[in-house]
Amino acid sequence: MEKAIKKYFPIFILPTMIAFAIGFVAPFLLGIYLSFCKFTTVTDAKFIGISNYKKILGDPVFIHSLWYTALFTLVSVILINVLAFIVALLLTKGIKGTNIFRTVFFMPNLIGGIILGYIWQLLLNGILAHFQRTLTYSSTYGFWGLIILMCWQQVGYMMIIYISGIQSIPGELTEAAKIDGASSRQVLKNVTLPMLMPSITICTFLTLTNGFKLFDQNLALTNGAPSRMSEMLALNIYNTFYGRTGYEGVGQAKAVVFFLIVVIIALVQNKLTRSREVQQ
């Protein structure tokens, strides 16, 4: 059996590999090439060297977006993971109706980002209207609006991952700790958390990259208003691409820079959290 799988595995992964090559590798390589070009449509591009990259340096809005996105990611990673972990802990205590709660918390994930964005825009504007304000009054409102939205959307998803992690902790470990006289706080700190590190790695990775890549929700909720002050990186790239004649390549160059940033941060994060995982 094992042998047969080893022998035939290229055939099994072939469909996925083809899809991956067409849907990911090819556009990715084309994208890198285009970042060195001047073009209107992607099929006729003219190579112009690195001048697209030079133009990024003189773009203050891009730098602002970078910091705004970094701050957003930091806050959202912490909030989402802490909330998801708390909810997961509560829902593994055997409360009545646990399954209903889990389903309800997970539901927001089933809604697409654009729709979520518009729904929350209505909700938040409805509340802010009492104070004669709107979401795009200042970028601070947009920031916290986005944080609320993302927490609402992602906490349930991360919760599921944490729950499966908590459930796979062997019962005897917790039991042994309790017999040794550990308080529930000590159990949490010395047994649950270390055993959960693989889940934490995954969850922080997902929330981190989601935060950086955020586009739909940003577009729908504030669309960068006011004055592009709530514009995050992905939206900034999009707006660069379509904002001016002849700036398609600059948008593409920004996308490549963006890719590098996300890769570096994700690698560093992975290394950090992984080093804290324990052998079971």
Binding site: V42, N109, T136, Y137, P198, R228, Y242, G243, E248, Q280
Partner: protein
């Protein structure tokens, strides 16, 4: 063990993500295109028209069907969702079967696409054009042809306005006196002060700065200071604007946000629909928009005969003779990279649209277009806003041309819109608007034109 477990978690996580990614995407693809393979093609060439105007999407599909039934030539019509024309066009153009007929919005829009434009100087449709003013030319080649002329101004509700004129303390007593900025301001202030007596929420509809509405101010209203500056200098485009009429721009903007149905701090979330419904339900008297808005406001509280359109007065000397803003930002271009047969089919289709009875009837009566073609003499739309424009022209008022097509880039417009909004809600100064208007013009012009 550890690795295996982590792997399992990762795999299940990606699987779930994949599932939902699938879900999410299907929402975004609301305007996905039916494949042209589905349609049977007879005849030699095919036409694929990428339409800019969502207001007339259904009519174009119907017209295409009529043409196919009549001639057997396959005509596909796709309409880009509002505000996404440029992005849709860019991706459609890169496909194997690109649009054969597409639109640009004027000289600046043409810059991106000039390498794709077929020379229309020998085409039938160019011969039908009433004036060269409506063609986009590059030297001797004709690259784009306008197919609709539009007009905008201050749409107003005659019934409520007359009610105001009859008030004992009204400072302006008739529509004839309402022919300059001072009179407009007095009227608007008067209506605002008496809004309860008149049963309205405000003089002007909300000057919404949502993306469905902000073009009315960052583009259309901004046309007036540009127009007067060009007129003074006798030019029709520039690489650096001075902003000599910005104070007037400020005056009218102040009026819009002060005598309005809502507080300025609420503007950022007000949409185009909000403004249209406020006007259509008789909650406001003035509504800055154009002939195309008629479809959105007709058949509601405001009867057709109560709709009029005033020129937008901003306080320039001699503006009593100013007419409405008339021009076009819809130019047809034929894709020269398409197959020769398809190009010919497209040219035939265009000629049919402006010459056949079906085509003319559809354009004039169903879509409500005023066209720049000589073939349309008997086909004039019933739109009251169009008639208002005819009256001004007959009175010898000078129409304001559409100079906003020379605005250097989308970024310029967006930055101006943001500055206007921040000024309105009190988080920014008027100086920021000046900077966005004057300084950005030069930088954006250079950025877009640098090689």
């Amino acid at each position: 063990m550890k690795l295996k477990k982590e792997f399992a978690v990762l795999v299940s996580a990606t699987m779930i993500t994949g599932m939902f990614a699938g879900c999410g995407n299907s929402n975004d693809k609301g305007n996905s295109k039916p494949k042209s393979e589905d349609a049977k093609s007879s005849g030699d060439g095919k036409v694929y028209y990428l339409n800019f105007k969502p207001e007339q999407a259904d009519q174009w599909v119907e017209l295409a069907k009529t043409y196919t039934d009549e001639t057997g030539v396959d005509v596909q019509v796709q309409t880009a969702a509002s505000g996404t024309y440029e992005s849709t066009l860019k991706s459609e153009m890169a496909k194997d079967e690109p649009p054969t007929l597409f639109q640009v919005n004027g000289p600046v829009g043409l810059k991106s696409w000039k390498d794709y434009c077929y020379d229309l100087s020998d085409s039938q449709i160019y011969k039908d054009l009433s004036s060269d003013d409506y063609a986009l030319k590059d030297g001797d080649t004709v690259q784009g042809i306008a197919y609709v002329i539009e007009t905008y101004g201050l749409v107003y509700n005659k019934a409520i306005l007359n009610k105001y004129f009859k008030l004992p303390d009204a400072e302006v007593k008739s529509i004839d006196e309402l022919n300059n900025f001072d009179a407009l301001k007095k009227t608007a202030d008067g209506i605002q002060a008496h809004k309860d007596d008149l049963g309205v929420e405000g003089a002007f509809t909300s000057a919404g700065m949502d993306s469905s509405s902000d073009w009315r101010f960052k583009t259309h209203l901004a046309n007036l200071p540009i127009y007067y500056e060009y007129k003074d200098k006798g030019i029709d485009s520039t690489d650096a604007i001075e902003g000599s009429y910005l104070d007037d721009y400020k005056n009218i903007w102040d009026l819009y946000i002060k005598d309005s149905t809502c507080k300025p701090s609420m503007l950022s979330s007000k949409t185009g629909e909000d403004a249209a419904s406020e006007f259509a339900l008789g909650e406001a008297v003035f509504y800055q928009n154009g002939t195309w808005a008629y479809n959105d406001v007709k058949d509601m509280e405001v009867a057709d005969e109560d709709m009029g359109m005033l020129p937008i007065y901003i306080g320039v000397k001699g503006e009593e003779d100013q007419g409405l803003c008339t021009g076009s930002e819809n130019y047809w271009c034929v894709n020269k990279n398409a197959d020769q047969e398809d190009i010919q089919a497209t040219l035939d289709f265009m000629a049919w649209v402006v010459e056949s009875d079906d085509g003319r009837d559809m354009l004039a009566n169903e879509m409500g277009f005023v066209t720049p073609f000589t073939t349309f003499d008997e086909y004039l739309p019933s739109n009251p806003l169009v008639k208002a424009n005819d009256d001004y022209t007959k009175d010898g008022k000078k129409p304001v041309s559409w100079n906003f097509t020379t605005m250097p880039s989308e970024t310029w417009k967006n930055d101006l819109g943001s500055a206007l909004l921040e000024y309105a809600q009190g988080t920014g100064k008027w100086d920021a608007v000046k900077t966005a208007f004057v300084d950005n013009w030069a930088t954006e012009y250079q950025a877009s034109n640098a090689e």
